[in-house]
């Protein structure tokens, strides 16, 4: 049965390679974008750390900055 699923009446190589290409591309793009996101976030946090208290307080008054600092999801 497994052989039949893999072989697909002789078309297995074409079908599985098309699906494999699609999902490998998905995974690659996902990890590239995730890496970019993490890099920017690390940059933001380290820049924020260099601000003096007055500037940090001002920066934190903007809700988006507060959101970036507080929200640390996996993606």
């Amino acid at each position: 049965m497994i052989y039949e699923i893999l072989n697909m009446n002789g078309y297995g190589l074409y079908v599985w390679s098309a699906f494999a290409f699609t999902f490998t591309s998905f995974a690659t793009l996902y990890f590239i974008i995730q890496m970019q996101y993490k890099r920017e976030k690390i940059k933001f946090i380290s820049k924020f750390g260099t601000l003096n208290s007055e500037r940090a307080a001002f920066a934190k008054s903007q809700s988006i900055n507060k959101e970036i600092l507080s929200n640390t999801p996996s993606i």
Binding site: Y14, A18, Y30, F44, I68, I75
Partner: protein, 235 residues
């Protein structure tokens, strides 16, 4: 009217949304894959090779849809001076380009067992390749220009010229004699495809659309943080 496009409000939503979209994507994809690979019937002519359609067609549809959306947002953003629309367009482009490449590669893989060749310079394939080049130009424009106005003008021109290609892709199978079969799915008239094949096609399209949304959200959040990074530099 456009106060709803405030970055602060948008980020509070887009930063939380990806995890839910990713979860939904896996659920829809699981249903789609089991239908596409195991439950749907094989074609009476093409046999199991028809299963490639379940990745090829949704990828082509989404790449066309994304480019049309990018064009609409770019033109609208330029006319009404809404910078956020350019940012949304920029964030949509990577997934649109990826789906275009997937459509070309899986089409090539499908072509070998059905047409006996990996590639043919027929109208549909050539116009899809042209769309990939427009996507590439669009992405490069964001990289090479530093000045905002130059980016907006360049991307506007690329999308306006690129959108001319979209109806050419759609009607290429009707206007010219191509290796591609005519459209099997029609919104206004009866589709030539059986429901047992249409159902997995729709599910796979929904899964791909969710993936596109996921990539868009992640990219958009990255772009917003980039802007905020520049803002911290100016403090």
């Amino acid at each position: 009217m456009f106060k709803h496009f405030e970055l602060n409000k948008i980020f509070s939503i887009t930063s939380k949304a990806p995890r839910y979209v990713l979860f939904l994507f896996f659920i829809v994809l699981s249903i789609g894959l089991s239908e596409a690979l195991f439950l749907s019937p094989e074609d009476y002519k093409q046999g199991d090779a028809v299963r490639i359609m379940y990745v090829h067609v949704p990828a082509a549809w989404i790449s066309l849809g994304v480019f049309s959306l990018i064009t609409f947002l770019t033109i609208f953003g330029y006319i009404f001076k809404i910078q956020n629309f350019f940012l949304i367009s920029k964030s949509l482009a990577p997934s649109g380009f990826l789906f275009n490449i997937i459509a070309l590669v899986t089409g090539s893989i499908w072509g070998k067992p059905t047409w006996g060749t990996w590639w043919a310079w027929d109208a549909r394939i050539t116009s899809m390749l042209t769309l990939a080049l427009f996507y590439l130009m669009y992405l490069i424009a964001w990289r090479i220009f530093q000045d905002k106005d130059k980016i907006f003008k360049a991307t506007l021109l690329i999308t306006i010229f690129g959108i001319i290609n979209v109806p050419i892709i759609k009607y290429s199978v009707d206007w010219w004699n191509t290796l591609h079969q005519p459209a099997s799915i029609n919104i206004l008239s009866k589709s030539a495809i059986d429901i047992s094949m249409l159902f997995p096609l729709i599910i796979m399209t929904a899964a791909f659309a969710l993936f596109s949304l996921l990539i868009f959200l992640m990219k958009y959040n990255t772009e917003l943080i980039k802007i905020k990074n520049k803002g911290l530099d100016r403090l």
